[in-house]
């Protein structure tokens, strides 16, 4: 595998893209290109890049909007250098606020941009040392326990995503599928297992549902319940095991499992779609403790489902 840093250049000007591709190619970088913010977003979710260089003024998704989306999806894990012909103070401040890694003025000063890239790639390689450490382990085990009252204060799938992006090399498709699995498992453990909300209650408007959740959490029996979330990355098996456990009443999972195995998924008013999705997106799905715990295993190499 090439050790060259991979850079994505984004500009609606073909001339600028070609010019940068040439400059960066000569400087020893592996360069890919996109001609709009939307194309660039698609690419960064399909492939892994070390750095993105993006124009601010583009039709459609602007450079600032692109940067905002990168920070939402990748937090600080992906460096973005912004380019502009105008160094307006407000935009400069906004770019910094949104987390631009550097700011380059057009026409591009070759020495300046190469120097900036070198510095950012150097810092990224240092960050990657942590990933390398986890890559040398047989297994890495993470376990979290959270009281119900704090549950709505934390986006667990976001935390999980951050861990996976920082410490493990996982393809975007696999990670997206894992995020959906985590969402299904954790949401059900809270809404169904911990709070015991009915299907009708779950269909309430957002505000009404939030009020109901607050009300349920005032019940000391519910308030003291905990949700356990754990995942084990197995480098030898190249898979991940995720488990979630709640302290609710559990449920009759056997019939649901039979239904999803028969492919009986669709009932507009019904439920069980979450189980169907876990079954579809993982390689192994199992329940325990009378339905109070759920566990999936999924390959980190391929997203092909081999559930039996």
């Amino acid at each position: 595998m090439s050790n060259k840093a991979k850079i994505l250049v984004v500009d609606d000007s073909i001339a600028i893209v070609n010019s940068l591709r040439s400059i960066l190619g000569i400087s020893g970088y592996d360069v890919d290109t996109a001609y709009s913010g939307s194309d660039a977003l698609r690419k960064i979710h399909m492939k892994e890049y070390d750095l993105v260089i993006c124009d601010i003024e583009m039709p459609g998704l602007s450079g600032l909007e692109f940067l905002g989306k990168v920070r939402e999806d990748f937090e600080r894990d992906l460096d973005v250098i912004l380019m502009t012909g105008y160094l307006e103070h407000d935009y400069f401040i906004e770019a910094i606020r949104l987390g631009a890694s550097d700011f380059i003025r057009k026409p591009i000063d070759t020495k300046q941009i190469v120097s900036s890239i070198r510095e950012l790639i150097f810092r990224k390689r240092n960050r990657d040392d942590k990933t390398e450490f986890f890559g040398h382990l047989n297994k890495a085990n993470f376990c979290f326990e959270m009281p119900a009252k704090n549950f709505s204060k934390v986006a667990l799938s976001k935390i999980f995503s951050s861990y996976m992006r920082q410490y493990f090399k996982v393809g975007s498709k696999v990670l997206n599928e894992l995020l959906i699995c985590v969402d299904e498992m954790v949401y059900n453990a809270f809404i169904h297992g911990t709070l015991n909300l009915s299907l009708d209650e779950r269909a309430l408007s957002h505000e009404a549902l939030q009020e109901l959740i607050e009300l349920r959490l005032q019940d000391p029996n519910i308030n003291q319940r905990k949700v356990k979330f754990a995942f084990v990355v197995d480098n030898l098996q190249q898979n991940i095991e995720i488990s979630v456990e709640d302290e609710g009443d559990g449920f009759e999972y056997q019939n649901w499992l039979k239904s999803v195995k028969k492919g009986q998924f669709l009932e507009i008013d019904g439920h069980g779609r979450g189980i169907a999705m876990l079954y579809h997106l993982s390689d192994k799905l199992s329940f325990g403790k009378q339905g109070k715990s759920v566990r999936i295993v999924k390959s980190l190499v391929s997203s092909e489902s081999s559930n039996a």
Binding site: S62, H206, L266
Partner: protein, 127 residues
């Protein structure tokens, strides 16, 4: 020059409005043209942000739209909560003579809709 700055200013305001680190990684753009509502969903639609979809679908229901075109090309995946919102909307929308069509979808969403047999309820196009 002024036009360029106006455009930049618009983009800047949009970016400023949309960025909230505590918000989820999903955005919905909804536009109306005569009787057609066009909805573009970007990112991952999950239990933490499905209420935003619910609100947008509510807007469609309140409008005169008879066709909802869903662009899911940049939607990377949808949880069962998001699917549930779409199905509940579908039931009410067809009862008032409306139709849904997924005009574009990502591979993941296309696979998901096929697996859940949603393509039996409305047209789902890939790519």
């Amino acid at each position: 020059m002024q036009n360029k700055l106006d455009k930049l200013n618009k983009n800047y305001k949009n970016a400023h409005y949309r960025i909230n680190p505590k918000e989820n990684t999903m955005t919905i753009d909804l536009t109306f043209n005569d009787n057609i509502a066009s909805m573009k969903i970007d990112g991952i639609l999950n239990s933490e942000n499905a209420h935003i979809l619910q609100e947008k679908l509510g807007e469609v229901m309140q409008s005169n739209a008879t066709l909802l075109e869903l662009d899911l090309l940049d939607c990377r995946n949808i949880s069962s909560t998001g699917i549930g919102k779409i199905l509940l909307f579908y039931k009410d929308f067809i009862s008032k003579g409306g139709e849904i069509e997924v005009v574009r979808s990502s591979n993941s969403v296309y696979e998901l809709f096929s697996m859940l047999k949603l393509n039996q309820l409305f047209t789902v196009n890939l790519g």
